[in-house]
Subunit: 250 residues, 2 copies
């Protein structure tokens, strides 16, 4: 048995998310079908994270097993050729030890949330960013974001249906940058609760627009009640950026 | 009579360029039709530059005249509402003196050419960048680009059908930056010959991939013969970035 690690970019707009679903086009399904001409058997691709409908990826990671010993370059070329008309690209393929697991060995996942702060509708960034008309002060957002760093109960930002055993997570870092009307929010953690990134962004924006004070944000965070959090930020502003693994494990 | 200046963003992919054509969708035509509910008469929009099929704009500038005195904000909202389903956005509208001319008063036009240097096909940047597989050394490109700065005969980079009276142009500046596999080439001039930017990029890439020496590039530039230049870089990597006007004229 051989194991291969894939690094994957996609525009999530046309897909019903990462995870295979009956009768709906998903990214996992397209990649599984695209690799079949090489593996002959239908393989299962295990992703590092299950992105929702409309969420994009710059560096999703996945792995699959096959009893065929294949050249990584051939796998990459085969999948990309089969997905020529799909907005999915395999950026890299490596053979990895059977101990490597894209999901369970990840030591850090990184997400970017993209906001365009202007009144005019988006042309080039349509479906690629959240357009917010109200003036946003990122200094206020940054002050609020500092409160989230470290190990906390993130129930306020946890969606119903989250399968995590615990709402306790450690946010390694969060940064907010602005260049003209482009705002990028970057989040770093070993793992996230369901919708945690988009729920954090939704509430931080309330602070940035002045609707919420930093104290109010701090209070609703400590209350650990999702009903107190703001709306979930839209999926199309979210990018699964990349995944870090222990170099010893690859 | 009143004159209004528009600043316009577009994804050029679905259009047959800027300029109005019979029976083909163009950006000029869509904007002219979108402003009609306010002006009542069909106005003519004069753009600072005529972009080709597939070329994008971050800040195209145009003006039009009307005998209705309108609030700039209302013009912006009206056009954007009518173009809700088109990848065209009006970023700004200003009332300007009748001496202002978007095309003839420009003192500098700025273009960005976007390249992704990797093997895998593009997902998020499909139709938004030129994908080049061969390794590119931007230091070599930068050395060649220095030769283009200033006032020269640019016939080597001038397309057939160019309507400019002279092939002599002044390139104010050209810069080349790289971040990971993204390469941005920025060009600054009062005006450009037809396809000049894309022809310069096509030939600079020959230098960056090592196919041409800097001396060879210098020679073909001095020979002033388009047949010696490399292929025209594809339109979908080109962005009309912005236009500078003399503050006294605006």
């Amino acid at each position: 048995m051989y194991r291969y690690k894939l690094t994957i970019e996609y525009d999530g707009t046309p897909f019903f998310g990462w995870q295979r679903q009956k009768n709906l086009p998903t990214i996992q399904q397209f990649i599984e079908e695209a690799v079949q001409p090489l593996t002959k058997d239908l393989v299962t691709i295990q992703g590092a994270g299950r992105t929702d409908t409309g969420v994009h990826a710059l560096g999703q990671v996945a792995h699959f097993d096959t009893d065929k010993h294949l050249k990584p370059f051939r796998i990459q070329e085969c999948i990309n050729a089969h997905l020529a008309n799909q907005s999915i690209s395999i950026l890299n393929v490596e053979e990895v030890p059977l101990t490597f697991n894209a999901r369970f060995n990840a030591i850090e996942r990184r997400y970017i949330y993209k906001i365009i702060n202007r009144r005019a509708k988006l042309s080039l960034d349509n479906n690629r960013a959240w357009k917010i008309t109200k003036n946003i002060d990122i200094n206020l957002m940054n002050s609020a974001a500092q409160l989230l760093k470290g190990k906390h109960d993130f129930s306020t930002f946890r969606a119903a249906g989250c399968q995590s055993l615990s709402p306790i997570k450690t946010l390694n870092n969060i940064t907010i940058e602005r260049v003209d009307d482009l705002i990028l929010i970057k989040l770093f953690a070993k793992s996230f609760l369901y919708h945690q990134v988009r729920n954090i962004v939704g509430s931080l924006i309330k602070v940035g627009t002045g609707e919420w004070s930093i104290d109010y944000f701090h209070n609703i965070f400590k209350m650990c009640d999702r009903k107190l959090g703001a709306m979930t930020a839209p999926s199309h502003g979210l990018y699964f950026w990349n995944v870090i693994y222990d170099p010893k494990e690859l």
